[in-house]
Symmetry: C2
Subunit: 489 residues, 2 copies
Amino acid sequence: MLPYKSLIQIDRKSPVTLYIQVCNVFIALITKGMLQPSDLLPSSRVLATLIGINRNTVKLAYEELISQGWAESLGRKGVFVISKLPALSKTKPSETSKPKSDNSGEAFRWTNKFKNATPSENLQKTTLAIDDGFPDVRLAPIDQLMREYRSLSRKFYGRNFLKYGSAKGSEHLRISIGNYLSTSRGLGVAAENMVITKGSQMGIYLAAQLLLDLSDTVAVGVSNYGFADDTFRHAGANLLRIPVDGKGMDVDYLEEALRHKKIKAVYIVPHHHFPTTVTMSMERRLKLLNLAKEYHFAIIEDDYDFDFHYENKPYLPLASIDHHQSVIYIGSISKTFAPALRIGFMTGPPAFVEAAASLRQLIDKQGDTPLEEAFAVLFNNGEMDRHFRKSLKIYKQRRNIFCQILKSDFNEVIEFKTPEGGLAVWANFDKKIDLLKMSENASRKGLYIANGSFYKNESFVTNALRMGFASLEENKMVEALGILKKVVR
Amino acid sequence: MLPYKSLIQIDRKSPVTLYIQVCNVFIALITKGMLQPSDLLPSSRVLATLIGINRNTVKLAYEELISQGWAESLGRKGVFVISKLPALSKTKPSETSKPKSDNSGEAFRWTNKFKNATPSENLQKTTLAIDDGFPDVRLAPIDQLMREYRSLSRKFYGRNFLKYGSAKGSEHLRISIGNYLSTSRGLGVAAENMVITKGSQMGIYLAAQLLLDLSDTVAVGVSNYGFADDTFRHAGANLLRIPVDGKGMDVDYLEEALRHKKIKAVYIVPHHHFPTTVTMSMERRLKLLNLAKEYHFAIIEDDYDFDFHYENKPYLPLASIDHHQSVIYIGSISKTFAPALRIGFMTGPPAFVEAAASLRQLIDKQGDTPLEEAFAVLFNNGEMDRHFRKSLKIYKQRRNIFCQILKSDFNEVIEFKTPEGGLAVWANFDKKIDLLKMSENASRKGLYIANGSFYKNESFVTNALRMGFASLEENKMVEALGILKKVVR
């Protein structure tokens, strides 16, 4: 007899009735092959004693097994696993098997239509990190957000926000963000022309899926945000790499390419280019807009970094100049607040925004309305403004200190320009430093720092890293760079 | 001179400095064509008085305009819009233009790779609705959830959940849901073999994108969940419709089709079929599993409705019998809790789950960790169990009352079977009733009810509706059906 006492674990607090729990264990034993066709099940009296439940519960379980076709009662002989059980393959549960890099040997086939980028860093368990340029989550007015969130759920009308809503997201939040875009960057956008996304990544994804068909061409920087590259590849597109210099993407090079090739979309992070933190010049912005009109391509303007500009002269987004003709404008609240609260937005030509909302329904129906409503309150009561102002001030101080230390302590190994904005320094390491080893050695000393592979691609080889300063308080910054100094020596 | 006083609205609470606000308004006027090349700007003294700001602020704004290349100073003559402004097309901002059904006339082209399903109903503003079968959001322990959510954000370690985390979702929640799946349905799944999704819709989307390439075939019911159909079409697949009867999908028909055609995946809602609420028989479940092994296709098992089964005999999911070989198992917490809080899960072969997590990174990086962590607490402290038990009891009562009223008051116009589970009745209306008109007339009397178009497709013509009973308290149910009775008379 099988060791039923240990095999059948009863959970009396479960909403599943006891007899169904017992029944389910038997089905599992049968389908795993531990009980074979025609095997005798223990008598209800024996099993009841073994696992400490009422005998009638066991009888109910057996009746259920019989009615579902897993067992048969042969009168006085007892209850048996059904003799003509359909052949089910008997393998171990998958927990014990390892994932493979391809899926040969699996029961069915699937495709990765994209090359895997380095998986995102899970920073929830690190205590000291020089990251890619992430915000300091301790600065976010999270408690105010949660207070609003909770307060909404207690109000009668707030309960309605728990029902299905619009795929475009909370109307209140779209209005609030619209107002913010208007004052901060002269971008006039009506609520119905905006879709709330889960961070800027979902904006890139929606744009890619709508704009790009199989074998279409999208122009991107020679150096570029790796997850954008992957998102375009996943949509089936080919990447055309355009050089990027100190003034952003080289639009003359792009113009030359346009003469020979149909390009469906151009992806830019004008403010500030990822990973090199360069700001695109106004001259190039205007030329790019004119090229878009001449050659009928879409500009995907990923402006997640707009809010962090320290020299007090952020250029207007291309979208503000374009008035929703050629530009799809993508922004992020996650990046200014907390990465694990996924809120962003996308605006563009009205019909495009409608199509994006339809597609978004297929992806995840809609966003979390109560969270969106809570953010709307924070925009409306000035909390977000205070947060932007406060964090901008703190990040500027941190940038200055960080760059000072880099200059004084890493002068021989790191070459960089102080970034005008954003949350990271683009640090070119001396050739003699092996970034892979540096990252490993730092990790052993308790410091997370990337190994640089995320910033490379098939046409961009570099020995550089983004070094995020924004999430580091001054003492942590000193500690982190102190460890790094020992590692690179 | 332009009416600057009304055109230039200053927001003194904005984090954007005043002079940048003024500068941005001028750029907008220039790019919209309201200010033309070589137009004279008002003197700083005049403008300062007009809009009530310091003259030096205006001067700073003009300097900024000049440095960005929008304006030029001609000594004592004043500041002018630059004469050699690149030609920018001058159209009205898009707020005033209407979205079109196609995008002819737009500056660039995009594609809807899918036919639009009826947009989801926005139920956040309705007060009385017979819906598609949605939960009663007032039953959800939302306040407990929010309390945990807020409490997490106040704890030191809770703050870490605001940083970037795993694309698979909160590990705590994966463990909690794993435990729940094990006791409720004998499905053994390790945390690393599960990805937390934004509701079951995202599970369907991820599975579709990974399994289906252009022109692949996916088998679905003749009647089927419209958003699943659209999601498969969006992935480029062709639908093969398989008949569905009182025992679920006709697997003999499917077997015949498999002899002639390569089928990559089969989508089923075994428990209970959408829209007809039928439960798939155990015999067919086992046969389908065997066919999957023989013909190497994937089964997408959408089991969002498992938790609502009133006859106390829910069949085991196919996934529980299959042990992660051929079945991708999709479930929802949103459907049992609150639709606007998007939480669901997907399990499957380990390598498939890894691929799904990689793809998920491209879509929206990850879920909202704090919300996921709060749900994990509710699973662990028994709150979710209590909720499941309580709502099951209430929904069963509501189903019984609803069906009683349908029998007594709608006997001549509606034919239906009392559903064994789920949150809706599949109501076949008499041919003489025009559902479009019925829906419109009900709407005029303050009752939302669907017009039936969502349940039809190119091969399924019906005069039936899903009538959700779960979200209606008894007095509302009487009110709603009272209105409907008047409408169909």
